[in-house]
Symmetry: C2
Subunit: 104 residues, 2 copies
């Protein structure tokens, strides 16, 4: 499959997916937000995939308009970055989304 199909399958088959960079504090913040909610996201560290990492980042930009990390999906839906996810949490909208996606 193409990288694009791989991303589409990954986000469809996993309740929560975080495309991340291992040394990035914003990526760590969103990972610990999910861990605090007893959710185990599928985490893909783009910086640990060699050349495929930057290819994936370009595919994510094409599919979502977002090049930056962290890039978060819940229930197959593109959520955005760290600030978007934190905002949803603060508005009480994140947990219902996680429940609906059977992430807990």
């Amino acid at each position: 499959p193409s990288l694009e199909e791989t991303v589409k399958t990954t986000v469809a088959e996993n309740p929560v997916v975080v495309y991340s960079k291992s040394w990035c504090s914003y990526s760590s913040e969103v990972k610990s937000l999910f861990n605090g909610l007893q959710v185990k996201p599928l985490v893909i560290e783009l910086d640990q995939l060699g050349a495929e990492g930057s290819q994936l980042q370009n595919v994510l930009e094409k599919l979502t308009g977002q090049y930056t990390v962290p890039n978060v999906f819940i229930g197959g839906k593109h959520i955005g970055g760290c600030s978007d996810t934190v905002q949803l949490y603060n508005k009480g909208e994140l947990e219902p989304m996680l429940a609906e996606a059977n992430a807990k």
Copy 2:
């Protein structure tokens, strides 16, 4: 001069110095904290210096014990990262330090 001497001279001669990475949100946060206080730090983007960037990062670790970015100095004194600088600000201790270092 060695890279170590260069760093020592840079932090001694500039009131506020931020070693940063241009695409890092924590680095941007600390830069905007200073800009909001009408302080223009000397910003060194480690990712824009080629091989010297990672050498500088190693020298900073040797001199300060801190490898991560942002790496902040005020009045020649090592402050720490983004969270350290924000904490000092929240405690009301950052502005007096900036005034003492003639940063404003």
